[in-house]
Symmetry: C2
Subunit: 221 residues, 2 copies
């Protein structure tokens, strides 16, 4: 390596910059290997610094992971908040939200994998953080659902099940995002439309009082 290269590589950067580099590296490595399998050495290497720097700036492995979770969760929430229109009908609100969500996942795969796959599995405080974000989303969705029909058809049942259905919808979106990772080539908007078609008509018919119910089973011949 030439002297110039050496000097360029060794150039010292302000803490602020390094912290971002390290956090970026951490998100990538955590998303690749998962919390436990990821090593601080690899994170340091990917970030282009040595291990003590990581500890000096971001603290222990747990703290580093927590920082990643927090940062990525914030970014996701902001992306959705920026994309959602709250001056429109509930269905449009939901659609704009889903749209933003899929766009975010599409252009931030590592972030999504860390949030969805890793944080939940690790448990403890981390899962808490993510759970809260998830809960906020669910409540939001639940509010939309209730607002859309003001329970005009089904009353008590809808109230009880509202949160559960919201959870199901959020899960469906997450699952669809995962499916997307293995089947790229579909635009985010199309994904969002599919999901809207799947669930909104379901929600719509629900509030209109139309319900599916199991028929009696006759024993097989």
């Amino acid at each position: 390596m030439s002297e110039t290269e050496r000097k360029r590589r060794v150039r010292r950067l302000p803490r602020e910059v390094r912290e971002r580099q390290i956090a970026d590296a951490a998100v990538e490595v955590f998303s690749r290997h998962g919390y436990h399998t990821a090593s601080m050495d690899e994170i340091a290497e990917v970030a282009g610094v040595s291990k003590p720097m990581v500890y000096a700036y971001l603290g222990s492995k747990e703290e580093l992971f927590a920082a990643c979770i927090r940062r990525e969760a914030q970014r996701l929430l902001k992306a959705i908040a920026d994309g959602v229109r709250n001056d429109v009908e509930p269905d449009m609100q939901l659609w704009t939200g889903l749209r933003s969500f899929f766009h975010f996942v599409g252009s931030n795969r590592s972030s999504w994998m860390v949030l969805h796959r890793q944080a939940l599995a690790v448990g403890g405080e981390f899962a808490e953080e993510v759970s809260q974000m998830r809960s906020r989303s669910i409540e939001l969705v639940a509010a939309l659902v209730v607002a859309s029909g003001t329970r005009k058809g089904i009353g008590e049942q809808a109230e009880k099940s509202g949160e559960a259905l919201a959870a199901a919808l959020v899960g469906a979106a997450e699952s669809l995002a995962d499916w997307w990772l293995d089947h790229p080539g579909v635009p985010a908007d199309v994904l969002a439309s599919w999901l809207m078609n799947l669930v909104w008509l379901g929600f719509g018919d629900l509030v209109a009082g139309e319900v599916w119910s199991p028929k009696d089973l006759t024993p097989p011949a």
Copy 2:
């Protein structure tokens, strides 16, 4: 400890029995702590044997985990297969399937947590195993959806999106199962009904040619 107690505790059991005890313990411990955090020592302790027994009977930690995954996946699939009625209409097939699924989760929480939360996060062969089970479920659901309407309304769009929607539904079921863990007191049948109401009417309207589509957005004031 008295001599009798000592003898009872120390009584030797045939390999077959010990293997089951160890596997049971492993599922419980893995579900509590996750793959990496779980220690072979704790598994041995919970199983009531010493560590070398675990290695002698079930092999390495990886092998043990794989065995757990396989066993629990089989149990889950069998439970669903036993519960599903394939001599009835597609909607009833789906309902009976969901019903069995929720019943299984309700009475086998540890199994479910290992399969859903841990196996995916660990990655590698394990995730493969679970992914395959998941894929089989998704294909099955997709078949139901297609069969139910024979694409009578939307054609190509439905074909492309069928698998994605099935993935979404499976995800919704999984997510609802997770929600259930935090909100017990709802019977499994009710959960299944909620989900049917949510998605089936969506599917139904889809195949009937009814679609939701975003309206044009006018900029806010």
